[in-house]
């Protein structure tokens, strides 16, 4: 049962919970279980094709899963997942 920290604007889709504990042996399974439990979250995190949205990074504790095993990264009970957006920009 890994803990997923829910960003403030997404708590409207998780019954106002700021973290949710869900089961899953991998990060992919945890996110799948999370969005099954809270279907409205799916659109926020995944595209219609089921891929993570381009602006969404997933951190397992303090590590970006892209540098671990991506979706197949093992998730243990004591682990915390965070959804962190990619943000950049500029005047021109």
């Amino acid at each position: 049962m890994a803990k997923v920290l829910i960003p403030t604007p997404l708590r409207q889709f998780t019954a106002k919970q700021d973290s949710v504990t869900v089961s899953g042996a991998t990060v992919g399974e945890v996110l799948s279980a999370l969005t099954t439990q809270f279907p409205e979250l799916r659109k926020q995190i995944f595209t219609d094709e089921g891929k993570l949205r381009s602006f969404v990074n997933v951190y397992l504790n303090d590590e970006d899963i892209r540098y671990l095993g991506k979706d197949a990264t093992p998730a243990a009970d004591a682990d915390t997942l965070s959804l962190v957006p990619s943000i950049a920009g500029g005047a021109r």
């Binding site: 990619s86 950049a88 500029g90």
Partner: protein
């Protein structure tokens, strides 16, 4: 709407002016009540864009993660992101839009000749194709 308390607002303006002629960026923490947001604290973050920063900024996701943790520890919410536009108006540019996230408010501070000029807040959509102007007070 988004309201920024005087202390975080002063810190944001100071950060933007000190970073001139480059862009600055940071996080805004506070409370949310439905569509109403109150910023009670700002956190200056490093502009991590590799290259000329006069018209570009980039946040490190791990810095944003730390800002979110700080918000949780202080029983606040991560409400939005701010950045500056040196010698440009506070519009939401194509670059801003294409690198945005629909979860947060984006406050843009226009810094003209080193001094604060005006600011706007923007709410980008999912497809990163347009941003609605959000009522802003400070």
């Amino acid at each position: 709407m988004i309201r920024i308390e005087s202390a975080p607002w002063a810190a944001m303006v100071k950060h933007a002016q000190a970073s001139y002629p480059n862009e600055c960026c940071g996080a805004m923490l506070g409370d949310t009540d439905g569509e109403t947001k109150l910023v009670r604290e700002s956190i200056a973050l490093e502009n991590a864009f590799e290259g000329a920063q006069a018209a570009r900024y980039e946040l490190r996701p791990q810095d944003l993660l730390a800002a979110d943790k700080a918000a949780r520890e202080r029983k606040m919410d991560l409400i939005g992101i701010y950045h500056s536009h040196p010698d440009c108006d506070a519009y939401f540019s194509k670059t801003d839009l294409q690198n945005s996230c629909p979860w947060y408010s984006f406050v843009v501070l226009s810094i003209q000749k080193g001094e604060f000029h005006h600011a706007n807040s923007w709410l980008p959509n999912f497809d990163q194709t347009e941003a609605a102007k959000e009522e802003l007070s400070y």
